[in-house]
């Protein structure tokens, strides 16, 4: 591990902007929720009422996790329930960026040839990521104590966030050893995060229903961290599990690293065909080869997600049946819909946001192709820019549609009534396409800032998570295209916003393509 210190400094230098941003943003988010709640509740009675209703909302339980009690601290912890997912994502991206991505780019050869030990790069990446996770935890603990919340609960709250970062740093460390491409490593780690979230979600929703599937949460690393239940039980046993899990993941990664060559993965490359098949003879044929893995992965993942959502949906029905009072209050708040409609509206909304990541990922593939020189290769043949782009954009357009449809159909079929849930899923598509179109515009007009596209999802997510609580003005809510699509099946369908969103998407994408045709490649 010689040279770890110097590598740590190198990482800090390279990430000097990104690292502080995510540490501060994620570490201070609970404070935002706290401020929002303090403004919202003028009396204790209001808070108790809110907690009572929210705790029984299956959609909320899915997104945020269970609400353990009605104290202000517990409400903040519950409302921050999605933040560990974002922390996990930031942690795994950081680790892979400084391990497998470096190796793939060939920079590791350069470093490894100097006085740098075998494990130094992995150790440095983990050290920086875990320290950042610790900083987030300290920020949370410090700011919550500062706001007058109980000391032990605040420490437990900080530990929840820190452990989320550590666990997924460990997951990423393993993923980085498995595949030779950073893309593959990233997908593996994100997949584990996604499965963790779905397991926790399924378990928690089931817990407020009939509880048959409540054990699912215990299979999820995110679940371990959340089982600490800050300000409630302050239970440290799950924290020990999470800590052990982290240590084991790091140890496994270290052992795997020692057993492979630099640049190699554990999954060896096999020989392939010497001739291209008939399909590989057009930009579309190539796009299919480049996108099919992604499409398959997202579709399979969302099919599984749909089954979980649909299965848990039956728990929600039970809940409504056993507690008429809850159902009443709920339908008052949720508008005209029934409790299951509100539940499916909220799961569909979350899915749509996640699938827009896919739309952006597929669109940004164009930029990747440009940066690694592949676009030059294709555009040097008799392929025009529009047909080159069209191959990729077809997958950015239809891929999310397939993923959403499969999710909706799977959820609906498992629940027993496929129509409404499938319709709800498809109704979200125009909003997803708008974010995809914005990505096209960025790639076409300001390619250097193409990665800003990810920010559009972050903004939409932030609006969804904190907008209603902090009572954002309507114009701010309207920034997110997801504000405009009808939240089926809880709301009724209206065609106008859908058509307008589609027109906006077409206009933005066409502008982006026109810019792409005019600019230098590579730029």
């Amino acid at each position: 591990m010689t040279g770890t210190g110097r590598l740590v400094r190198l990482i800090l230098r390279r990430d000097r902007v990104v690292l502080p941003i995510w540490v501060l943003l994620l570490g201070l988010l609970p404070q935002l929720y706290l401020a929002g709640f303090q403004k919202l509740f003028t009396t204790d009675a209001e808070r108790l009422e809110y907690a009572h209703v929210s705790g029984a909302n299956a959609g909320f339980a899915g997104l945020y996790g269970p609400l353990s009690g009605d104290s202000l601290g517990e409400l903040v912890v519950w409302r921050s329930g999605f933040v560990p997912v974002m922390i996990g994502l930031a942690a795994l991206l950081t680790v892979i960026r400084h391990t497998r991505a470096e190796e793939e780019a060939g920079r590791s050869d350069l470093l490894r040839a100097t006085v740098v030990g075998r494990w130094a790069q992995l150790a440095a990446a983990l050290l920086v990521t875990m320290l950042s996770g610790l900083m987030i935890g300290l920020l949370v603990t410090g700011s919550m104590i500062g706001a007058g919340e109980p000391r032990e609960g605040s420490i437990a709250f900080g530990a929840l966030f820190t452990l989320s970062a550590w666990l997924f740093a460990g997951v990423a460390a393993i993923a980085a050893q498995l595949t030779t491409s950073s893309r593959g490593a990233r997908m593996t780690a994100v997949l584990v995060l996604g499965i963790s979230f779905v397991l926790r979600m399924g378990g928690d929703i089931s817990a407020i229903g009939d509880g048959r599937l409540a054990w699912l949460s215990w299979l999820s690393p995110l679940g371990w961290a959340q089982k600490i239940i800050p300000y409630g039980e302050d239970n440290w046993a799950p924290a020990v599990i999470a800590l052990l899990g982290t240590v084991m993941a790091v140890a496994v990664a270290g052992v795997l690293l020692a057993r492979r060559d630099l640049g190699a993965g554990l999954l060896a490359s096999r020989l392939g065909p010497a001739h291209a098949g008939a399909g590989l003879s057009s930009p579309l044929g190539l796009a299919w080869r480049l996108h099919r893995g992604l499409l398959l992965g997202w579709t399979a993942g969302f099919a599984a997600l749909g089954v979980v959502f649909g299965g848990v949906g039956t728990s929600v029905v039970q809940l409504a049946a056993t507690s008429n009072e809850v159902a009443d209050t709920f339908s008052k708040i949720g508008g005209s819909g029934s409790i299951t409609d509100a539940y499916f509206a909220s799961t569909t909304g979350i899915c749509a946001l996640v699938v827009s990541l896919y739309a952006i990922q597929a669109t940004l593939r164009m930029r990747d192709e440009e940066q690694n020189g592949h676009a030059e290769l294709i555009l040097g043949t008799a392929v025009g820019r529009t047909s080159w782009a069209a191959g990729h954009l077809l997958f950015a357009l239809l891929g999310p549609a397939v993923a959403m449809a499969v999710q909706g159909a799977a959820a609906g079929l498992t629940f027993g009534d496929p129509g409404p849930v499938l319709g709800a899923a498809l109704a979200q598509l125009p909003a997803i396409w708008v974010l995809g179109a914005v990505t096209v515009l960025l790639v076409g007009a300001v390619p250097r800032f193409a990665a800003v596209a990810w920010g559009t999802v972050a903004v939409s997510l932030l609006i969804l998570l904190v907008g209603p609580l902090l009572e954002f003005p309507q114009w701010a809510m309207d920034v997110s295209p997801f504000t405009h699509v009808p939240q089926l099946p809880a709301a009724s369908f209206s065609a106008v916003p859908e058509i307008v969103l589609i027109l906006i998407a077409v206009l933005i994408a066409a502008t982006g393509l026109a810019a792409l045709r005019r600019r230098d490649i590579p730029a």
Binding site: L280, L377, I521
Partner: protein, 324 residues
Amino acid sequence: MSELARKSASSARHVEPERSGGGGGTAIDAEGLIKRFGKVTALDGLDLTVRTGEVHGFLGPNGAGKTTTIRILLGLMRNDGGSVRLLGGDPWADATKLHRRLAYVPGDVTFWPNLTGGEVIDLLGRLRGGLDPRRRDDLIERFELDPRKKSRTYSKGNRQKVALIAALASDVELLMLDEPTSGLDPLMEEVFREVILQEKSRGDRTVLLSSHILAEVEALCDRLTIIRDGRSVETGTLDDLRHLTRTTIRAELTGPVDSLAGIAGVHDLTSADGRVAFDVDADGLEPALRSLVTAGVRSLVSQPPSLEELFLRHYTRTGNGSPR
């Protein structure tokens, strides 16, 4: 050998001038090309003329603007000034149409990691409008490539082979090769030369070859253009350019010689103890020798002009504060 090549190239010009599509036997004609990237001027009035059927060497130090020029010729980038014609068309407006008639091998090439070399060759060939399967297999054999390996496992040299095979197996009029042999071992470099010479003997293929390897340029090119800092500094046949270079002369004299310093074309003259050494331009060679003979020569060593010296002169001469 370049003499021979030139003959075959010039006869090709007579046989098939019409294939260049109205350019009057000119495959590439760029004049006063200007390209800026923000504040950096990459091309600053570059001229490049490539005649149909010739192998044209394109030389210049790193960062001189070779790749930028090729990208403009491919219509991937648009020039900010000057004019450019390629195969009788406008490379920006007619890109797709023109690309059916040319093949391009980028300098530092990478492929899609999960496609095999064979798949990449077929794909690029088909996108260009088809390739000759017999020729493909022949080239794969000659370059000793295993086409079943995934691209991610290829070394730089093997990736270069894949790109070369894909380009050479297509029946096109113009090959644009950007440092095609970087990464190839000497054996494969030799195969590359053979293949290019073969192409040349067909007479109707034009090759633009950017290269740093002098032996390669000497062996293959009819004419060449040297660029520096985005400008063409020399262009012509190898003999033209050799003419520009200096002969190095060292002599031991029996008597004193005074007149040498006054001869136009004599450079870097040193003399001590009856020994003189100097470089002399082609024009100054005769008067210089005369004055040596007049002084009486005991021994004389002359080093013929080399291209290498010419390149080094152009590569190292500092201009606009860009020391190299």
